[in-house]
C-alpha cells in the first residue's frame, strides 16, 4: 500500500471500495463499483432488488470475497485483515438471521461475548442498546415470538453492542410498518450524532435515502449510475416532472400530441417517458406549461386522467439515469409533493 501526502486525507475515509467486481458463476452481480465514504457520513445506497446492493455490503463486511477489486474500512483491507475490520464495524443484514430458540438477552449476550465484552461493560451495553431500540420489555422472551419489526430492532441492537465506528445497515426498514420505520430512522440519526458513527445504508425506498442520507449513490444492475447529495442529484434532473395519466387505447394519440406540441414550441423540448399509467414529461418550470399541455391534449381529442406536477424526486433521478422506476417505492409512504403512481417498470430486470 503506498502512502505519503494523501495519508491525512485517507484518515478521514471510513469506507473505500475500488473497482469491486463480483461474479457468481455466469452472472456479474457487481460490475466495477468504486466509492468513498467519509467518517461521520450517512451514505445511502439506493437501488432496486437485485441491483447488487447486498453483494457489495457482503464484500465490505468480510462475508464475501470480491472477484476483483478491493475494499477497506478505516484503512483496513477487508480481505487481508478481516478480523480487524470485524471489530470496527457493526452490521444489520437484510434478512435478520436470529436464532429463534434463544431469548433476546441470550442472543445479545452471546454476541457481546464474541466481541470480547465481559463483566459490567457487557451488562451496560445490553441495557444501552435495548433501551435505544425500545426492546427492554421483550428481552427475556424467546425470539420466535417476536414480530418482524422487533426482530429488526434486535438485530440493530446486536450490531451496536461493541460501539462500532462504521455501521452497515442493509435495507433496515424493508417490509416494516411506518412506525417501526420512523423509529429506525430516528435511531440512525441519533447514532451518528451521539457516537459520530459512519453509516452505510442500503435501501430501495427513495424517501429513506432522501431523508437520511448525506450522500446517495444510485445503483442499477451492478453499477453506480449517479452519486451525490440528494439535493444535487435532484437539481441535476433540472426540471419539474409532469405526470399525465391516459388510458391504454389513447396512449398513442397522447404521445403524438405531446411530441407535436414539443416540435411546434407549445411545449419546451424535454424528455418524455412512457410509464404504466401514461407519460412522464421532464420540463423546466412545469407549472406554466400545464395549461398548454391540457389544451393540446384536448385539441387532439385525448381525454386524460389525473395530471400532476412535482419537483423531481430521487425516483426521477433514477428514472432519468436508468430508464426504469424503482420498485416498491412510495408504497407505504405517500411521496412528498403529490400522489404519484408508482410503477415497477424496468426495475426487476
Amino acid at each position: 500500500m503506498s502512502h505519503g501526502s494523501s495519508r491525512l486525507d485517507r484518515m478521514s475515509v471510513a469506507i473505500l471500495a475500488k473497482d469491486l467486481v463480483r461474479r457468481f458463476d455466469e452472472v456479474e452481480a457487481v460490475r466495477g463499483v468504486s466509492l468513498e465514504v467519509e467518517e461521520g457520513e450517512i451514505y445511502g445506497f439506493l437501488g432496486p432488488n437485485g441491483a447488487g446492493k447486498s453483494t457489495i455490503v457482503r464484500i465490505l463486511t468480510t462475508l464475501l470475497e470480491p472477484t476483483s477489486g478491493s475494499g477497506s474500512v478505516l484503512g483496513h483491507d477487508v480481505v487481508r485483515e478481516p478480523n480487524t475490520v470485524r471489530r470496527l464495524i457493526g452490521v444489520a443484514l437484510q434478512e435478520a438471521g436470529l436464532d429463534p430458540k434463544q431469548t433476546g438477552r441470550e442472543l445479545l449476550t452471546l454476541q457481546a461475548r464474541l466481541y470480547g465484552l465481559r463483566g459490567s461493560v457487557l451488562g451496560q451495553q445490553i441495557q444501552e442498546v435495548t433501551e435505544l431500540v425500545g426492546l427492554v420489555d421483550a428481552l427475556d422472551r424467546r425470539i420466535q415470538g417476536y414480530s418482524g419489526g422487533m426482530k429488526r430492532r434486535l438485530d440493530l441492537a446486536s450490531s451496536l453492542l461493541h460501539r462500532p465506528r462504521v455501521l452497515f445497515l442493509d435495507e433496515p426498514t424493508t417490509g416494516l410498518d411506518p412506525t417501526s420505520r420512523t423509529l429506525i430512522w430516528d435511531r440512525v440519526r441519533e447514532l451518528r450524532e451521539q457516537f459520530g458513527a459512519t453509516i452505510f445504508l442500503t435501501t430501495q425506498y427513495l424517501e429513506e435515502a432522501d431523508h437520511l442520507a448525506d450522500r446517495v449513490a444510485i445503483i442499477n444492475r451492478g453499477l453506480i449510475v449517479r452519486e451525490g447529495t440528494p439535493e444535487a442529484l435532484k437539481a441535476e434532473v433540472g426540471t419539474d416532472v409532469i405526470d399525465v395519466s391516459v388510458s391504454d387505447h389513447e396512449s398513442g394519440a397522447a404521445r403524438v400530441a405531446i411530441l407535436e406540441m414539443q416540435s411546434n414550441g407549445e411545449l419546451p423540448e424535454g424528455e418524455l417517458r412512457g410509464t404504466e399509467s401514461g407519460y412522464t414529461l421532464f420540463v423546466p418550470d412545469g407549472a406554466s406549461k400545464i395549461a398548454a399541455l391540457v389544451r393540446g391534449l384536448d385539441r387532439a381529442g385525448v381525454s386524460t386522467g389525473p395530471i400532476s406536477i412535482s419537483r423531481p424526486t430521487l425516483d426521477d433521478v433514477f428514472l432519468a439515469a436508468t430508464g426504469g422506476r424503482l420498485q416498491a417505492s412510495s408504497e407505504s409512504q405517500p411521496s412528498q409533493d403529490s400522489q404519484r403512481v408508482p410503477t415497477a417498470q424496468g426495475a426487476s430486470r
Binding site: 463486511t61 436470529l98 430458540k101 434463544q102 441470550e106 464474541l114 460501539r163
Partner: protein, 281 residues
Amino acid sequence: MTAATERFGEPGRGGPIDRSQPRTLAAPTGYLSDVAALAGRSIRALLREPESFIPALLIPLFFFVVQVGALGKVAERAFGISSYPAFQLPVAVLFAAANTAGGNALVLDIANGYWDKLSLTPVHRSAMVIGTLIGEMFAVVGYSVLLIAFGWAIGVRFAGGEVLGALGLLGLTVLFGVGFASISVAVALATGSVRATQTTFVIFFPLLFLTPGTLPRNLMTGWFKTAVAINPVTYILEAARSFIFGFRGPVLLKGLAACIGFCAVTFLLTALAFRRRARMG
C-alpha cells in the same frame, strides 16, 4: 498474515488508526471462550427442545425392549450368551449416540442467516463448528448415562468392574457419537442444504445394522459376514460389549482403533467442508 497481527491491527505499518478517534469496545477473545459461549448456546437449545431428544432416546429403547422380548431366551440358548439384555445394551447405547441432531442445528443457522450473523463477529471461525460438536457430545453423554442406568436397573452388570466398565463404555460411545455427528455437520457445511443434511441420516442403517447387533460374528455366514467384517462400527460395538462381558484387551484395542480411525475420517471431512464454507463466506 498471522493471527496475532490480524487480531491487533497493524499500527506499525503506517496504518491509519487514529488514536484521537473513539475506539470500539471490541477486544480480542480467547479460543476457549468463543467455544464455551457457542457450546453453551447449543446445549441451551438442546435442553429447550425435549421433542428433539426424547425420540432420540425412545427409539433405541424401543428396539432394545423388542429385541430382548422377542429373541431373549432363544438367543441366549442358541448363541450361548449369558445375558441377552447385556448383549443388547451397547447396541442401544450406540444407536442413541448416532441419533443426535448432528448438523441439523448448524444447517438451520446457515439457512436462516444466523451463521452469517455470527461470521460478522471476530469469532474464531472453527469455534462455530466445535461449539456445535460439544453440544452433540453433551447429548451423547446424556443419552448414554440414561440408557446405562436403565440397563443397570434391569440387571445388566459390568463384569470387569462397574465403574470402570460404565466409564469405558461412556467414553467410547462419546467418541463414536461425535464422529458420527461430524458426518452430517460436514454435509451441512458443504451444502448448506437442510434436506441434504437431514438425508445424511440414512448412513445410519448400513453403519448400525451391518454389525453383530443381534448375533455374534462367529455365527454369521456369507455376504453378511463379509459386510460386517469391513464395517468399523462392528469393532466399536464389540469393544463396547467387552466392557460389559469382561475386558478383553485385543477386542478393546481393535475397537478403540476402529473408533479413532472412523473419527479421523469424519473429522477430516468436516474440516474440508468447513474450509469450503469459510471461503464461500
